[in-house]
Amino acid sequence: MNTNAHKVVIAENGPYLVSGSVPLAVQVIAPNTEGLSWDWVQGRSFQAEASYALCRCGASATKPFCDGSHAKVGFDGTETASRETVARQAETYDGPTLTLRDAESLCAFARFCDAGGKIWSLIEKTDDPAARALVIREANHCPAGRLVVHDKNTHKAIEEPLPSGSADESRDPRRCQRAGNCAPAGTEVGPTMSRSTNSPTIVAPRAWQRLCGTCRPCAATHGRDEERTGIMQDTQVKDAVDQVRSATQQLHKAISDAAAKRGGAAKADLEAVPMKAKAAIDSIKSSVATQNAAAKKHLTEAVTFLEATRTHAAEGVKTSGKEFQTAVRQTIADARAAVQQVSEAVAAKRTAGATASAKK
């Protein structure tokens, strides 16, 4: 089976457009004797065409396929999840022979991680072959890609093939008591996935998930939304000032790292600082016009500090000894002040956004 040809496109306010003859079947979670998620059992399979559309709005009468109901119900398919990479989202849990990477926000609540005393505890016992095998099993049964284990010797992810080459639609009969039809669906490992807009293509680590539009209240009961209730509002999408902040944070860190080095190495790193500071200044200047008054004030001050950062870094490169140390300290202090000002601008913008949302 050529999985490279598998492709999923998210249509704007519409279905998932699947192409490449991706097989489709229901996968039911089977519990063990203790009632904990243990295995996938294949249920009904569907006669899938080479290309087909899967319902995303939850209103289709022919689920899992789309019947065009999204247009009638006025489905709003705006994506609200973070677009942060898994690598940046994931936390690392270090064990004797394995490392677990956990990106909590991806959780689909399949709960394969609970058996045997929870995977986060088991990871610490992976010098025991039985515990190691259980950790690998649990991570590989995770349908969401939240949990991935890496061998500590090879640093490579351990990913076993999904059963019969197709994971397809999964359904946990204990979930979604309210919506009933809210089943996460997946295709097999690693299909290419993209959005209908101009967003970059992304590749899911194991399988992709679908939560139908009707399951938002259901998802809340499972804890996903309780973390974000009332606090996400319109801030999920990173705007220009957030990007500027990342740039100034990185600049400050780069200067700190440079200062930690000795002699020539520190100087070589410092040579790049004026140019990086200039880039941050340009970035701020291009975004200032769209900000509110409070944010503008902080961004203007940030530019002043970044100019000072440039100056002190440039001076530092030309000096040595005590003068060099002084210049580096001033450069760090200026960069830190710039980060603080941009952070204040971000906070001002977020507060204004939260207030506006609350008024609505």
Partner: protein
């Protein structure tokens, strides 16, 4: 509103989970984090600032400042004691802040124990952060779930305590996102 928070945990790994959670909340837009650091207090009552995300040249300064910060979170009296205690550790480790430390040699072990009772007990770890938050709910709830207890004081109050020697009150916190040190995913 801008606040300083110290979230105290009984074990170090939880403190790093707390640190990471703060930056995640920032990423989600729930709060804005201006700076963070993690500090431990060993069984003998000494502060240990983890050098993982600490610039080596500033490590001793952080040792001094963190004592002051923890004290500041306990109020003005705590700030004085915290600064003195932190300075004593700075003196022990030498470095650029030795002069600051020398001014505070009057510290006594009794006072140190008094400060400890307010915020950070022996064997505990804390993540300290300078944050902007519209409500206290996101941090309180997330940290409660991680098993941490939150101490909070207004940024302006801490700033006005002025117990930070030659360094500004926010010098001891690092303004960039915490990234887990081992990331095989990127290999």
């Amino acid at each position: 509103m801008r606040n300083y928070v110290a979230v105290v945990f009984d074990d170090t790994s939880k403190a790093y989970e707390g640190l990471h959670a703060l930056w995640q909340m920032d990423d989600e837009g729930a709060i804005t984090v201006h700076g963070t650091t993690v500090v431990h207090r060993n069984d003998w009552g000494e502060y240990q600032v983890d050098s993982k995300d600490t610039h080596p040249a500033l490590a001793t300064a952080v040792g001094v400042g963190v004592g002051a910060l923890l004290g500041a979170l306990a109020g003005p009296a705590g700030a004085a004691i915290g600064a003195a205690r932190g300075a004593a550790i700075g003196a022990a480790s030498g470095g650029a802040v030795g002069a600051v430390a020398d001014l505070n040699r009057a510290d006594t072990r009794d006072e140190s124990r008094y400060e400890t009772g307010w915020v950070l007990g022996a064997g505990q770890s804390a993540v300290i952060a300078d944050v902007s938050e519209d409500t206290t709910f996101p941090i309180d709830e997330r940290m409660r779930r991680l098993g941490g207890s939150v101490h909070r004081r207004a940024y302006g109050d801490v700033r006005d305590d002025k117990w930070f020697g030659d360094y500004p009150y926010d010098y001891y916190l690092y303004p960039y996102e915490y990234v887990p040190p081992y990331s095989p995913w990127w290999a």
